[in-house]
Symmetry: C2
Subunit: 350 residues, 2 copies
């Protein structure tokens, strides 16, 4: 029982290397390596002796040193720009796909919130061919990444890409969301768009436009702003939308985060949701249920996206022949989740 615990030099043990083990066991480094990797050609007695020393010293091979030399690391990399509700759900799905298997997961996130186009190119080349056996790109800012190992993307730039992609039926989901508002009687519907470089953002906008069109509602460019998918970037456009002289009675935000920000902005402006303003989001991240009122949104199975992406990646890693096949482009269904942030407009029955 330590009286006054301290992080002092006694705790700063030097790392035990393969050389330490070799020396102590009286064998060569190569032999230790063989034991560690259960290679053939080690005498049972030597094997046991080395194993004992390994246990004794508490040796663990350095993944980094090993990955520098050998091909397979049994590590899957996931590259995210930031850890926020959407990517966190992807990660949960990815972790789920790995459970029980013999792959480990390394998530790499830049500290800059991915505000730099091409960040993943940088990270991919910094990590791959080395640490990981394959990489999952989440909402990448580039459509192509050249790499000497398998890559798949979740919520890609384009589903025409050269590697497998995993997305939801964004167009259909956006149609459904907008129709929901129209059916409630809204005619003046704002759209707070996402990152235009992502296919998902483009398709959601198209769904919005087409739903208006089929309902005979004229498109008004004033009502369409880009919110960038993040709370910080959505704040300005949301305010702009709600400050309009002829304010929309409803806003379809291209993801939950910007929908949540829209609700916050509405509140700041003294607008009540859904009485004065209906808000609908997209994603159905868990956070969307925590708002007041709870957010109506379009559910996409984000975890399933991450799950399938990892499954496919592992298949690609283990069966190189598959890499010659045309890449699959998975598109998953969405579902309207009606909660309490949408209602009929106050003044109208339209």
């Amino acid at each position: 029982m330590l009286d006054e615990p301290r992080f002092d030099d006694a705790d700063l043990h030097e790392r035990v290397t393969i050389g330490d083990v070799a020396e102590r066991a009286g064998v060569s480094i190569a032999t230790v390596s063989r034991v560690v990797n259960s290679r053939y050609g080690v005498a049972p007695a030597t094997f046991e002796k080395v194993k004992a020393v390994i246990d004794d010293l508490g040796y663990e091979s350095s993944l980094i040193a090993r990955s520098l030399r050998s091909q397979r690391t049994h590590v899957i990399g996931v590259l995210v720009a930031d850890i926020e509700p959407f990517s966190a759900e992807v990660l949960k799905g990815a972790a789920n796909a790995l459970r029980g298997g013999d792959y480990e997961l390394v998530v790499y996130s830049g500290g800059h919130g991915g505000d730099h186009v091409g960040w993943e190119r940088r990270y991919v080349s910094r990590l791959s061919g080395t640490l990981t056996d394959g990489t999952v790109l989440v909402t990448p800012t580039v459509a192509e990444v050249s790499l000497n190992q398998p890559v798949v993307a979740v919520d890609p730039q384009s589903s025409e890409s050269a590697f497998p992609t995993f997305a939801s039926q964004n167009y259909e989901g956006a149609l459904t969301a907008t129709r929901h508002l129209i059916e409630l009687g809204h005619r003046r519907i704002g759209f707070l768009g996402g990152r235009r470089d992502l296919e998902s953002a483009r398709l959601r906008e198209q769904g919005y436009r087409d739903a208006l069109h089929e309902a005979g509602i004229e498109f008004d460019a004033e009502l369409v702003l880009e919110g960038g998918f993040k709370e910080a970037t959505a704040a300005g456009p949301a305010r702009q939308l709600l400050a309009l002289a002829d304010r929309p009675s409803a806003v379809f935000a291209a993801n939950d985060l910007s929908a949540i920000q829209t609700m916050r902005t509405a509140q700041e402006l003294g607008l009540r949701v859904p009485d004065d303003l209906s808000v609908i989001g997209f994603d159905n991240v868990p956070e969307s249920a925590l708002t007041h009122p709870p957010l109506t949104t379009v559910d996409q199975s984000i975890q399933a996206l991450g799950f399938e992406a990892v499954r496919t990646l592992i298949a690609l890693i283990e069966q190189p022949a598959l890499r010659r096949e045309p890449p699959s482009h998975v598109s998953m269904p969405t579902k309207l989740v009606v909660r309490q942030s949408t209602a009929a407009p106050r003044a109208a029955t339209a």
Copy 2:
């Protein structure tokens, strides 16, 4: 525009190494390294020339190779047993602390859900001294990890540990949760505990016991089971609790995941929540608002835990002198969040 995109050899570009740059620029590897790391002693003309080649070739230094040689990597490691709602919130907080700074984040998760005691010892030694400048341990299974670089822990084994720890006021939170049930009129209250090796689990059980005691309710060992904090491990104990001849009218689950599992089990057994059974959780992960009915729970600021842990870790990395100070043990307040899974017991007013 590719007609039928394929992942073929043309895409499998070899990694550009420092040697490629050196060769192309007609300088030595050492010089390129100096340019990359902005070291002194490079002629302006050489500097520019090399920089041009770097841009041209799209060279990025390998983090792995670099970390093998040099001390500082500007990467923070977070070790989690699995990516589930709790750890995901910690990660969001950690990412938040890194935003705008010049550290990057690597999350390492074993594929085995951390079902192996001491897994983090393994991962710490596999990664550290190399890839990362410091490590955040999340819900570790060991109290001490010896390492030649700073370590901090979130939701530790013990807040007596030799490194800084970050936890919530688990005892107080559990008191509050149990009192809430008692105030509603419950007398027969089950407790679905967590991983006993974690201090949080032990404190929550103590809070439960003490709240019963102060209310003059006799402790019944039959009503206390260990649920292991995960849905899979909680299922059995939850069923056992609800199948009791003298079934509890309320259950306090030691975290939200086991509370959610308890609600699910109740439903399977035909029990309505909260009419036939009240359920209260602990954590307030976003998922807790998604249940039917929404879960009453004790909120802990999980993201803040992750945030502060990273902040402290960075301070420890950048100011080695701090490592000689006694480690801080942060304890954050909790808050009861009453939603709809708790109510007065049906038959009694107690």
